[in-house]
Symmetry: C2
C-alpha cells in the first residue's frame, strides 16, 4: 500500500514535469513565430513582447529544475524512472535555449533597415516555419514517447540546414551589391544562424526522445551547414 | 560504520565528478586558444585537430552524466549533496557547449581569405584570450568553491561584450569598404559572436558557482551587446 502510494505520487510528479515541459515548448514555438512576425513587420513593439514573455520560459525551466530535484530527493527513483527525470531536466534546458534564440531574433528587429529590399526576408520566415514545426513535433514525440516522429524531426533538420546555406549565400551576394545595407544584412545572417541552431536543438531533443523510447542511439549526425 | 562508508563513497564520487569537469574545462580552454591559432594562421590542419579533440569533451560529458545518474541512484543524496550532483550535470552541459563554440570557430578557418587585410584579426584573439581566461577562472572558482572569483568572472563578461560590439562595427565598416571580402568578414562576425557566447556561458557557470557557495542569486544581468 505504501509502495503503491509512492508509485502514484511519482507518476503524478512525472506528469507534472511533462506538463511543464509541454508548456515551455508551446511558448517557445509561439515565440519563434512572433519573433518572425516582429522581424518581417519591423515592429519593435511585437519584439518587446517576445523578449518579455521569454521570462516565463525561464521561470518554467526553474520550476522543472526544482521539481526534478525534489522528485529525486523524495522518491529516490531508480533506473528508467531516474532517467526520465534527468531527461526532463535536460530537455527543459534545451527548450530554454530555444526560447533564447527566439528572443535574440526579436531583439534584432530594430536593427534592420530597408526590409523590403531583402529577398531573404521571404526565405527566413519559411525557414522559421520549419524550425518551429520541428519544435512542435519533437514535443509531440516527447509527450507520446513516439520514436518514429522523433526520427522524422531529426531528418527534417537537413531542410533547415539547406535553408541556412542558401540564405547565407543570398545575403552575402546582397551585401556585395548593396554595401549600404551591410549592417542590416549582418543582422539577418545572425537571425538565420539562430534558426539553424533552433533546428539543431530540436534535433538534440529528438535524439533524447528516440533514445528514451528505444534504448538505441541514432548514428552521429554530420553538420551539414557549410558556412 | 555503514553510514561512514556511504559518506566516503559519496565523497569519492563527487571528487571524481569534479575531476571530470576540471578535465573538460581544461580541454575547452585549450580548444579556444588552438581555434584562434588555427584561424589566425589559416591552418586547416590545426583546425582539424580542434574539431577532432572536441569528441573527447563530448565523451567526458557523457561520463559525467552517467556517473551523476549512478551517484543519485546508488547513494540517494539529499539536500546540498543532491544539488551538488545536479550542478555538476548542468556545468558539464555548459562546458560541452563552450567546446562546441571553439569547434565552430575552428571550422571557419578554411572559409577566410585575405586574412592579412582584417584589422579585427588582431582584436579577435584578444577577445578570445579574455573569454578563455573566464573559462579558466570559473573552473578554478568551481574547484575552490570561491564566490569572489566567480563574481569577478561575471564582471569580466562586460569586457567580452565590449570587444564584440567593437569588432562588429569594425567588420561592418570593413565590408562596406571592401565588398570583395564580405564572405570572409561574415565568417569573422560569427567567430566574434561565438566568443561572445563563450563569455555568456562562462558567466552562467559563475552564477551557478556563486549560488552554490553563498545560497544567493546575483541580480539578473542585462545583455550588453547592442548588435
Amino acid at each position: 500500500m505504501a509502495l503503491e502510494h509512492t508509485v502514484k505520487a511519482f507518476d503524478e510528479d512525472i506528469t507534472r514535469l511533462r506538463g511543464l515541459i509541454a508548456e515551455m515548448g508551446g511558448l517557445a514555438e509561439v515565440a519563434i513565430g512572433e519573433a518572425m512576425d516582429a522581424l518581417v513587420k519591423g515592429s519593435t513593439e511585437l519584439a518587446a513582447g517576445v523578449v518579455g514573455r521569454d521570462k516565463r520560459i525561464d521561470a518554467l525551466e526553474s520550476e522543472v529544475d526544482k521539481l526534478a530535484v525534489r522528485v529525486i530527493a523524495l522518491r529516490a527513483p531508480m533506473a528508467d524512472d531516474l532517467r526520465e527525470v534527468i531527461a526532463a531536466l535536460k530537455i527543459a534546458g534545451v527548450i530554454e535555449r530555444i526560447g533564447d534564440y527566439a528572443k535574440n531574433i526579436a531583439k534584432r528587429t530594430g536593427q534592420i533597415e530597408g526590409r523590403k529590399k531583402f529577398e531573404p526576408l521571404t526565405l527566413i520566415p519559411a525557414m522559421a516555419e520549419v524550425a518551429a514545426e520541428m519544435v512542435h513535433d519533437v514535443l509531440t514525440a516527447y509527450a507520446a514517447r513516439d520514436p518514429q516522429l522523433a526520427r522524422e524531426v531529426i531528418e527534417r533538420d537537413a531542410k533547415v540546414d539547406a535553408f541556412y546555406n542558401s540564405i547565407f549565400r543570398n545575403l552575402v551576394s546582397h551585401m556585395m551589391e548593396n554595401p549600404a545595407t551591410i549592417s542590416s544584412a549582418a543582422q539577418l545572417l545572425f537571425v538565420a544562424r539562430n534558426l539553424e541552431r533552433i533546428g539543431d536543438h530540436a534535433t538534440n531533443v529528438a535524439e533524447m526522445v528516440y533514445y528514451a523510447a528505444t534504448g538505441d542511439y541514432l548514428a552521429d549526425r554530420e553538420d551539414r551547414t557549410d558556412v
